[in-house]
């Protein structure tokens, strides 16, 4: 446990030294402060009677808007935005953890300690996830608190969106670790992981793609890849729907959540297991 805590500390110190963490927190804080200062809502009996944005009155057309509905709309939209941006930033900030560990002159320092290779790799993985989680908790938690302060409306489901985003980050980071163990290159890890994100999102339309295929084997290949890869598009929609309700997206209502989260969890486990196995067999 001491070794794991030391490894986590090192990851956070590195993030701070590389300005990754500070820049992320600074940008998040700026966004939070802007949001807190710019939005002024006049809520009367649970309905929005007036609103000001940057001090300017917003014309509501004389209508009274249900504040609960408005907040839910904002929160679900923001969770969709954060799903993309948060995932990309988290991978960008952590994909180097394995390639840097495997650098000549560095790996010897770590592996000469009485820590097994698998715990060493997993401590880096969990450290990376903790870093991503800290960022998500800060941004989502602050926004949630500000929204509650301004509107007195509290949706705990908005916070749950963070879990769904973190799950996606966990799956993609496991793949980035696998690429890092194999190639020892941060650039390749980043590129392959981002490519995986987009390819998996494209494969959400696997039924249409395979139907357009000329041969049966290629159609099966597309369907197979869809089930092997993480469900990045569905996870994005599921994250938004988790906050805004099943009616947010067309197709979400009949989405098989178990298949989406389950197959992505399998992808995560397979990637991480393979990364650990290769790392434990590698000669340095």
């Amino acid at each position: 446990m001491r070794a794991i805590l030391a490894s986590w500390e090192e990851i956070f110190r590195e993030a701070a030294a590389r300005w990754t963490l500070l820049a992320y927190f600074a940008l998040s804080t700026l966004f939070i402060l802007l949001f807190a200062a710019a939005v002024n809502l006049d809520v009367v009996n649970g309905a929005l009677a007036g609103a000001k944005l940057f001090g300017q009155s917003v014309d509501l057309g004389g209508r009274s808007i249900d504040i609960d509905h408005l907040v839910l709309g904002f929160e679900s939209g923001f969770s969709g935005f954060l799903y993309i941006v948060g995932t990309f930033l988290a991978i960008f900030a952590t994909a180097h953890l394995v390639p840097r560990l495997q650098e000549k002159g560095t790996i010897d320092l770590y592996l000469s300690r009485p820590v097994g290779r698998v715990p060493m790799l997993l401590s880096r993985y969990t450290g990376g996830l903790l870093l991503a989680a800290a960022n998500l908790v800060y941004l989502l938690g602050s926004l949630w608190a500000i929204i509650f302060w301004k509107t007195r409306v509290a949706h705990p489901r908005f916070l749950l969106a963070g879990l769904s985003i973190l799950f996606t980050i966990a799956a993609l980071l496991a793949f980035a670790f696998l690429a890092g163990v194999v190639t020892s290159s941060t650039g390749v890890s980043l590129m392959t992981t981002y490519a995986m994100f987009f390819l998996a999102a494209l494969l959400a339309a696997h039924a249409k793609i395979s139907a357009a295929m000329s041969s049966e084997w290629s159609a099966r290949l597309v369907d197979g890849l869809y089930w092997v890869f993480p469900k990045t598009a569905e996870l994005g929609r599921a994250t938004v729907a988790l906050v805004g309700g099943r009616g947010t997206f067309r197709g979400v209502a009949d989405m098989n959540y178990f298949a989406v989260y389950g197959s992505t969890a399998l992808f995560l486990l397979a990637s991480l297991t393979l990364a650990c196995w290769l790392f434990s067999r590698k000669d340095f």
Binding site: R2, A3, L5, A6, S7, E9, E10, R13, E14, A16, A17, R18, E103, K104, G105, T106, I107, D108, L109, Y110, L111, S112, R113, P114, V115, G116, R281, D283, F284
Partner: protein, 337 residues
């Protein structure tokens, strides 16, 4: 019998090129036993297998065959490294950490609790003359300072076994002496030290025993005295007023002759040959101004063992011969076919 702290039994390592088309035999069967409290030097030219041996001992590389043990525990078991301090060659500590943070993190990775590490850091940095740099980031350190920090990180958990790869690399002469003193202190404390260095003078001054590796095999092993004594049978004569006839006469006997500042320097390895040469010098009326046995340095031994020699090998005795008989008895430390 006490378990040797560092032990290699028939270590073999074959590397394959990326597509497996070529095999490179880095180690061809290494046997080593380092005794408790001993400073043991590992010598050899580049590619002899020194670093591979150390990496296998630490579990960084898996052997193709054979076994490596630290404190009697197989190197594949992380527990074998519980009481081991390692200073790799060309190590790179994270530049964003300060000296104190580096020792804290690597100390805790070695199993120490935070409070113990914190208590040890000032004394340790004092020992390696880095106490003024405690809170400075490692990226600002010179090579010598990084090396001393590496030594402190290897010592932070007070290990019983130290594996040091070129510990004085990049360190100034004063620093080298300090590191030598520090290693002797550690040995007095009871630590067993395996020193891997190209600096033969460093090894000669520091180590109790050495092993010379050549092409993945132990070409010689023993104390410095044993190794040098085995090759002491060389004698040097300085002759004055020698004429050409005497030079020809001496040369006929097979002695090595060279002119230095008007004198004749004659050398040979055989004592009877020396006496015959003395008779010839005196018979021709020349002056014998010096006659002395020449003791080989570790460097001579090293060069003899690792350099490909066109001349037939000199007969050996003692541990070198013993070691070479393991390599096929060719006397040049070559591979056994």
């Amino acid at each position: 019998m006490e378990t040797p702290p560092i032990q290699a039994i028939g270590l073999r390592k074959v590397y394959r090129t990326r597509f497996g088309s070529r095999r490179i035999e880095a180690l061809a069967g290494i046997d080593l036993d380092v005794r408790p409290g001993e400073i043991f030097g590992l010598l050899g030219p580049n590619g002899a297998g020194k670093t591979t041996t150390v990496k296998i001992l630490l579990g960084l590389t898996r052997p193709t065959a054979g076994e490596a043990l630290l404190a009697g525990i197989p190197s594949a078991d992380p527990e074998s490294r519980r009481h081991v301090g390692y200073l790799p060659e060309g190590h790179r500590f994270p530049g964003y950490l300060t000296a104190a943070q580096t020792l804290s993190i690597f100390g805790r990775m070695s199993g120490l609790d935070a409070r113990t590490v914190k208590g040890r850091i000032p004394g340790l940095l004092e020992r390696v003359r880095l106490s003024d740099w405690t809170h400075v980031r490692v990226r600002k350190f010179s090579k010598g300072m990084t090396q001393r920090l590496g030594l402190a990180a290897a010592l932070v958990h007070e290990p019983d076994i130290l594996l040091l790869d070129e510990p004085t690399d990049g360190v100034d002469p004063v620093g080298r002496r300090e590191i030598r003193d520090l290693l002797r202190e550690e040995a007095r404390r009871g630590a067993t030290i395996l020193l891997n260095s190209h600096l033969l003078s460093e090894i000669e001054r520091t180590c109790d025993r050495v092993a010379v590796l050549r092409q993945g095999r132990v070409a010689a092993q023993g104390t410095i005295e044993e190794l040098t004594a085995a090759r002491t049978s060389r004698y040097r004569m300085v002759v004055s007023s020698a004429d050409d006839a005497l030079i020809s006469s001496l040369r006929e006997t097979g002695a090595t002759i060279e002119r230095v500042n008007g004198h004749l320097v004659v050398s040979t390895r055989d004592l009877e040959h020396v006496n015959a040469l003395v008779d010839r010098v005196r018979g021709r009326g020349a002056l014998l101004s010096e006659l002395s046995p020449v003791r080989s340095s570790l460097e001579d031994i090293f060069v003899d063992l690792v350099a490909p020699s066109p001349s037939p090998p000199v007969p050996l005795s003692g541990s070198i011969a013993d070691a070479e008989s393991q390599t096929g008895g060719r006397g040049d430390g070559g591979r056994q076919e």
